[in-house]
Amino acid sequence: MLSNKKQYYFNLFFFFVTASSAFVVILVVVGIFLVLFKEAFPAISRYGIIRFIFSSSWDPVREIFGGAVPLVGTLTTSFLALIVAVPVALGIAVFITEVAPKRLGEIIGMAIELLAAIPSIIYGMWGLFTLAPLQAKYIEPFLQNLLGGIPLLGRLFSGNTLGIDIFTASIILSIMITPFTAAVARDAFLVVPPVLKESAYGMGATKWEVIKDVVFPYCKMSILGGIGLSLGRALGETMAVAFVLGNLNQFPTSLFSPTATVTVKLANEFTEADKDIHLAALFYLAFLLFIMSLTILGVSKYFIHKTQKK
């Protein structure tokens, strides 16, 4: 038993130890912001902000760097992934909470969480060795034959069906991010007050109508938050996409075009940029991605937070 005085001092000591540990979180965020900004500064001062974001040439020989293609690539792959992932995720959440019996729902829930646990490099491996060849041999030619003839829409399916393109990358991404929205949606659906649902049933609504008109509106903010979370994740994915995107610095002209994203560019070029300004431009991209992710994740978490407070 320590004396009272010693106890007091140890308590104070422990207070500071825990406080500093908690403070590390802030330190890291601020640290990343400052370090990325410092390293990116030569590129920022040379290319400016607007010009860098909207210029599409990435020319290390002529030292003209513009981030438009990877930024657009990041946003495009993420949105394409969301288009598939969000309905699927909501469907899964509905299934788990409203349709399936409790045991089955739990098992499916756990299976979906396992999808989230698979490391992204494994997705990349599988994408390169299994999905891309399947895409190249069967799926993409099939889609091209079926839909390529339609005016306007057909343009999306034109091009060389290599399997190494934005289409394959987005599919893999969509599978990866489905669990995030599904988990948030499921948690939100579970806390809808039963009395609201019961009154709707009491008026003769079908199950789907209850879901559509009671549960969804009630959980609007959470669902948006979940979508934002998935988007934030998709923006930052590297390994799953690096194997199958092709790193071509051009805007995609169809679903079957290779292109580049910020993360894939970083993975490919970071340790190898021999010119200082090239490395600074890469840091500039990293900095922009950091800001984008922080913003989207911050806003999404805020939405989820607000609804939880209720």
Binding site: P60, L248, E272, D274
Partner: protein
């Protein structure tokens, strides 16, 4: 339960401490040398390192991250030596306070995947390659390719040119050649370890290009010869400067190397592309080692390895279709080392 947990945690801490301690001690100076850079000579350096380890016990950890990476990492002094197929100009060497010398010569070949023509050899030339990589020639049965290959049954399929997405010396050799034979290329794209390619898909490292070409029908890519050889990928013949069609062989590589001018005063800066000889292969280059001038202790260890390789490694090189440096050049390199106090 609580006691077991505490014991477990303490055991983990103590064990880890022991492992880290032993690990940090176990690696003494000179036992592990870290290098990084070009994928061009990687199969050879790796084989040399393996032999050297057997002979002396010293580990050479060479990481193939591309010539751009080799240059970057030695400039930042994060590795013991860098490797690059793109030689740095003497002014840059002085500015970055480096030393540079070549180790071996190799040929860059055009690997392709064309199921229709089976084992028959494709013939290409500089201008055609140029147009393919500019995206101007889009299909295999284009008249320009047909003209070079009148007897082949070329299909109406799109060509996918594969290039290097990372900072690559092989790219610099290839684009140096294209800039030489193709004014449009020189004007619009230029040469270097990383250029603004307009068509096709990018792969990481020579091995990445080889991988894509191997698995993707109707694709074509530039690789160092060992990669095509080891993976049994078809490679084309090329029409050289003299208009003769040559195959990639050690002899045609040697012919190209003959005309090069490797001198210590210029830190051995030289190009061997589009060489003059009748039988010369058009895309040949030397690959270099970069050292940080102010680290004599480390450099001495690195030199020991390459000196050993000059003496004992020629056989390995030839097995993999690399060309060992001629004896006069090796002597010049040893003089260079002596002059900088590391030999």
């Amino acid at each position: 339960m609580k006691k077991m947990l505490t014991f477990l945690i303490l055991a983990v801490f103590v064990l880890s401490f022991l492992v880290f301690w032993k690990g940090a001690e176990g690696a003494s100076e000179g036992k592990l040398i870290n290098g990084a850079g070009a994928t061009f000579p990687y199969p050879l350096y790796s084989a040399w390192a393996s032999d050297y380890h057997k002979a002396t016990g010293v580990k050479i950890n060479y990481q193939p991250i591309g010539s751009g990476g080799g240059i970057r990492q030695i400039t930042e002094r994060t590795v013991d030596f860098g490797a690059s197929d793109m030689p740095l100009k003497p002014e840059e060497i002085e500015k970055k306070k480096l030393l540079q010398f070549p180790t071996v010569i190799g040929g860059v070949v055009i690997a392709y995947n064309l199921p229709e023509i089976g084992n028959k050899r494709l013939v290409l030339d500089g201008e055609t390659l140029c147009k393919i990589y500019l995206g101007e020639i889009k299909t295999w049965n284009d008249p320009q390719i047909k003209a070079l290959n009148p007897k082949l049954n070329l299909p109406y399929k799109p060509i996918t040119p594969v290039y290097r997405s990372d900072g690559s010396g092989t790219t610099s050799i290839f684009t140096h050649y294209l800039s030489d034979v193709c004014p449009k290329w020189a004007k619009e794209i230029g040469s270097g370890t990383s250029v603004n390619f307009r068509a096709g898909i990018g792969a990481k490292g020579n091995e990445g290009v080889a991988n894509y070409v191997k698995r993707t029908p109707y694709s074509l890519g530039y690789v160092e010869y060992a990669y095509a050889l080891q993976n049994k990928i078809m490679v084309s013949d090329l029409k050289n400067r003299k208009g003769k069609v040559v195959s990639p062989t050690p002899e045609s590589f040697k012919e190209a190397a003959k005309t090069s001018d490797l001198r210590a005063e210029k830190h051995f800066y030289a190009w061997m592309t589009n060489a003059e000889g009748e039988k010369a292969w058009p895309i040949v280059g030397a690959t270099y080692i970069l050292l940080a001038k102010e680290r004599p202790q480390i450099n001495k260890q690195v030199i020991k390895f390459f000196d050993w390789a000059y003496k004992n490694g020629d056989q390995r090189a030839l097995e993999l279709y690399y060309i060992p440096l001629p004896a006069e050049v090796k002597a010049k390199i040893r003089e260079y080392w002596k002059a900088h106090g590391i030999y």
